[in-house]
Symmetry: C2
Subunit: 361 residues, 2 copies
């Protein structure tokens, strides 16, 4: 069964029995007649290595019982190869698509994703963060609306967190950093202005005058940034301020809020939703309960472009966040920070654009 | 700022400076005048502890710079408190709901979820598993359709994997174990029979005779179990075997396959889909492209009961897998296995039932 002579296995096995040490990558490299680096690469999926060479190294490693134990390595290198991700809601379509893309990209670089669920209730965060710190992640990805940087920085002595931050308007407001000057963190800025401006222009072009904003969770910074951006964009076009429909990013709140607006309130000729999922709730309320035609009577725009938005029942016009670009930028920030832990705060900007489908037109 | 006297902090700090050891939980316990166990609980969110006591311990731990380093602890206790989860598709609605429920439940027990993405292409699995093994998880959750037990067992010397297994019919077939006798693994059996029988009875009760089965991915064991169960159930009622619509669990394949069945093939008076997401594709094709009324002309049943299934546009009748019961059972299996690593293989069964909504009736 062995790809190299039994005597060689015996010799190495005896050597290991004599010295009760862990089997190291060097032992495997010696047996496989390859470099130490090749052994490392063999255990890292997607690291460049010829398939036959990888298969041969893994086979020898298995026969020797070698495991690249990261717990042991972590104490020496201070690297755990774990990237923590703090999310409130793994199963929301947008977040699950983010986690999926990021896990794939991190795995290709030799990292694993460690999930931590938080709530928007800030009272719990400190306990969660202390708990997370115990796993000693190399990096932590967080959203400004879930964990404030000055809280996170107290719990991470080594990892520099990466924040996903929503810009308020077209000037790089740098809002969060301005409020939290003491904490060092790297940042992805999502520039919502461009895509939202395209959406407002399209609605105005179709003659919409009564535009409602279906809001997200009140405490969310993404929500606040989207609402503020919409108000500025509409004011610049001389439109009356948006009618606010209270929401919380969920389908059910979008559905209920839209019913209220048309049954109790004065209605609207367009609804701009803070995310796609709540836009689906608004669409279903308009079509099924309120018997309004979309887009003829009421136009609907969402935000995110989740994969469900192209489904025929919704076919939603929406502001797309470029998830692929955002994932690449996140991985770049993680690798750059690990290479130079003392570098000043790094940031990258991700753009948005309008995807026009059937709910406006 | 300190909750205890500065001199005490100084004394402890000096003591630590003299002896260049890591700050231990014992040091924190001494300073906080609590037990060692209380310090542990303070760092475990949801472990029972009075809020004031937790706050006080965390504050003192922070002042002392104490971090419960799991990498260091793992070498002593052989416990990493990591639970690996091998999934092919984090962002599918069903899997993301599973990951969410499991992460919440594991966090409450002091474990963190480590995500590994695999493909149904088995060629990659060995590399991925070797990679995962390096993180030394305490437990690994896998689906039989993604990773075969005999492959996984070669890569996990310590953790006993937990398999999620779909039963073929009403007798506990124990199919996977029968085929892989050498590997020890704990198991969740999903008994699909009961919910599927209810669905077939309902369709038969409404007079459906030409029932189509919209399949999942061909290699999936969940798919094979659902198809086989449906064939047996229909044969027992004297119905002709289901017409097979090739699918892959996706919305797009469900949509395209349904178009083919009605435009090229002979159509059907009911479609039983292998999962909810592909049922949505079938529904949209029937309503928008084929101008069929659901449920009047064609009835549709799904499988899973994802949160999107109650959305007004779909309002899908579906076979519900009890996710809450399944999550509880998984956590129970993990804890029982860690308590007794040598116990014989453990298993629990999760039931299914029909949820009747608007697409049959």
């Amino acid at each position: 069964m062995s790809v190299f002579g039994e005597s060689q296995v015996d010799r190495l096995t005896n050597k290991l029995n004599e010295t009760p040490q862990r089997i190291t990558a060097e032992t495997v490299a010696e047996a496989a007649k390859v470099s130490r680096a090749a052994v490392s690469r063999a255990f890292n999926p997607d690291a460049p290595l010829k398939p036959e060479k990888r298969a041969s190294i893994l086979k020898i490693a298995e026969e020797l019982g070698y495991v690249p134990d990261r717990a042991a390595r972590a104490l020496v290198t201070r690297r755990t190869h774990l990237v923590g991700m703090i999310v409130p809601d793994v199963c929301s379509p947008w977040e699950s698509q983010e986690i999926d893309a990021l896990t794939t990209a991190l795995q290709a670089e030799g990292f694993a994703t460690l999930l931590f669920k938080t709530r928007t209730d800030f009272s719990m965060d400190e306990t969660l963060l202390a708990y997370m710190r115990g796993f000693n992640p190399d990096s932590v990805i967080a959203f400004t609306e879930n964990v404030r940087p000055h809280i996170l920085s107290r719990f991470l002595d080594r990892a520099v967190p990466i924040y996903i931050n929503y810009l308020m308007d077209e000037e790089p407001a740098d809002g969060v950093r301005a409020r939290e000057p003491e904490a060092l963190y790297d940042r992805i800025d999502v520039d919502q202005w461009e895509g939202m401006e395209q959406a407002v222009a399209l609605l105005a072009g179709y003659g919409c005058r009564r535009i409602a904003y279906l809001s997200g969770k009140r405490d969310s910074l993404a929500e606040q940034a989207r609402r503020r951006t919409l108000e500025v964009l509409m004011a610049r076009r001389g439109l009356t301020p948006p009618i606010i429909i209270p929401g919380d990013f969920s389908y059910d709140a979008g559905h209920a809020g839209t019913l209220d607006l048309f049954r109790v309130g004065e209605g609207a000729d367009a609804i701009f939703a803070a995310n796609d999922e709540s836009a689906f709730g608004a669409l279903d309320a308009l079509r099924y309960e309120l018997k309004r035609r979309v887009p003829e009577d009421v136009k609907v725009v969402g935000f995110d472009d989740i994969s469900q938005s192209h489904w025929r029942s919704y076919n939603l016009t929406t502001v797309k966040v470029d998830l692929e670009a955002r994932t690449r930028a996140l991985v770049r920030l993680i690798l750059r920070r690990l290479k130079d832990p003392a570098a000043p705060a790094l940031s990258e900007t991700v753009r948005t654009r309008l995807v026009v489908r059937g709910t406006v037109g």
